[in-house]
């Protein structure tokens, strides 16, 4: 650990990131440009989230990393070990025990407390980017609060598919002002964006940081006759039986067999430890997983 500065980044870089985080919190949903650094991992592996975590962590923190809800994927394990090594922080897989949670594409099922911080890894921070490729133009659109293009996109969804087909990275409006990409979380998670914890978003390749203070008003875009609906697979978890959690669908053989399981592994494991069993699950004691 002594080979690195605390939390890997040098102090001047951390100050620059910290100033961007403060302006992000002061202007919720606005994307603050920052001088993203090269990190010892490729772009697309969470370099934005890692830089925000490095600027936020203290040695007293307990750190958790999830990748689409799971603590045990390669990306989550390597980022967790990175800060274990460079910041000396305690790590956990339990949502309730973590003080800082870095996430890729999910919000934990369990409600976060006011003393918890959620750091998102963001690939494309600009919600209008796929509709308008020019940064000059999208910046102007945010300045003028000109968001008609996104409503046309959602309308075209309805006219072509009969429904709003956007299922993840579903655009939201923050405090009635800025349109924001909540990162590619499923739209099932959108209602949880109004929470007690502090939410920070880091996009490394795109060099943007944005934030949501606790209890910030976040509204998913919709139409009066096509109201926003947070959807999930119409099924219960086959391992823990939960009917309210977001599910992954897993193909289990080449005969078309499939099962549904919670995407949030800590939530699922906690429920199984409490004795809940799904239709394909085994009672906790015999469950090697």
């Amino acid at each position: 650990m002594s080979d690195y500065n605390f939390a890997y980044l040098d102090e001047q870089t951390k100050r620059m990131i910290r100033r961007a985080i403060l302006k992000g919190l002061a202007i919720p949903g606005y994307q603050v440009p920052f001088a993203s650094r090269e990190m010892p991992m490729p772009y697309g592996w969470g370099t934005g989230g890692v830089q925000v975590s490095a600027a936020v962590l203290t040695p007293d923190d307990t750190f958790k990393v999830i990748d689409q809800g799971a603590d045990d994927t390669t990306n989550a394990v390597s980022i967790r070990r990175f800060f274990q090594k460079t910041a000396g922080v305690a790590v956990t897989e339990a949502t309730a025990e973590a003080s800082v949670i870095q996430t890729r594409h999910r919000i934990p099922e369990q409600d976060l407390r006011s003393d918890q911080i959620l750091v998102y890894q963001v690939p494309i921070p600009e919600p209008l980017r796929f509709l308008e490729p020019s940064e000059v133009e999208t910046r102007k659109m945010h300045g003028l609060e000109e968001y008609g293009l996104m409503h046309v996109k959602l309308y075209e969804d309805i006219s072509q598919h009969g429904d709003i087909a956007t299922a993840y990275a579903y655009p939201v409006k923050v405090e009635g002002r800025y349109m924001m990409d909540p990162s590619p979380i499923p739209k099932f998670d959108n209602p949880k964006l109004e929470m007690a914890g502090i939410q920070l978003f880091g996009a490394g390749r795109e060099q943007r940081i944005y934030a949501l203070p606790p209890y910030t008003k976040v509204v998913s875009l919709d139409f009066e006759d096509y109201p926003f609906q947070p959807t999930k697979a119409d099924h219960a978890c086959d391992l823990c039986g939960s009917e309210v959690s977001y599910l992954d669908e897993l193909i289990v053989d080449d005969q078309g067999g499939r099962m549904f399981m919670c995407s949030d592994t800590d939530y699922c494991a906690t429920r199984r430890r409490q004795g809940h069993v799904g239709t394909q699950g085994l009672p906790h004691k015999e469950d090697a997983a």
Partner: protein, 186 residues
């Protein structure tokens, strides 16, 4: 330069700055709540809290404006030695430090419609900081919060400029509270 100017910085820079930033960030995310911050021993009249904020956020990239009685050789030397921040007039400042009455508010940067983040952050030294007085509402506040603000009119005008505007950090001794431009004050 006097020898004591060299003292009073963070003892363990990465760790002290991490704790100090967590306090500043939580304060900015939860407007009106008062937090402790420590680690700095700046020359008077700069408080421990204001000194720690400067050490945490300022460096050669952040032009700094010292208002009124805070523009002293001791403070200039201390800030220069520990942060390297350049001193500028109010109009060019990214950070401004002073007591409420001495700050030239009209001169400070509010940002632009395309870059509202290019605005000044004020570090305001207070005689007292308590959760009484003005009512605060807005992002970061569940229902309502209270803070002993010097006035309300300027904050109401500031909030009307949203998304442009100034952001405030209030300091007193080892305590700080923050008030971003989003907070509605009454």
């Amino acid at each position: 330069m006097e020898a004591h100017i060299l003292e009073g910085g963070f003892a363990n820079i990465p760790i002290d700055a991490a704790h100090a930033f967590r306090a500043v960030m939580t304060a900015m995310a939860r407007p009106g709540e008062i937090f402790e911050i420590s680690g700095a021993q700046p020359p008077a009249p700069l408080s421990v809290a204001a000194g720690a904020v400067v050490l945490t956020l300022c460096d050669p990239e952040t032009p700094l404006f010292l208002a009124g009685g805070f523009d002293t050789p001791q403070i200039r030397d201390w800030v220069t030695f520990h942060t390297g921040a350049p001193f500028v007039g109010a109009a060019d400042a990214m950070f401004a430090i002073g007591v409420w009455e001495s700050i030239p508010f009209p001169d400070l940067a509010r940002g632009t419609s395309e870059y509202p983040d290019r605005s000044a952050t004020l570090i305001v030294e207070m005689d007292a900081l308590t959760n009484t007085g003005a009512v605060l509402e807005g992002p970061g506040i569940k229902d309502q919060n209270y803070l002993s603000l010097p006035e309300t009119a300027l904050f109401q005008e500031n909030a009307r400029l949203y998304p442009l505007g100034l952001d405030f950090i209030f300091t007193n001794g080892g305590n700080l509270a923050a008030l971003p431009r989003t907070t509605r004050v009454s």
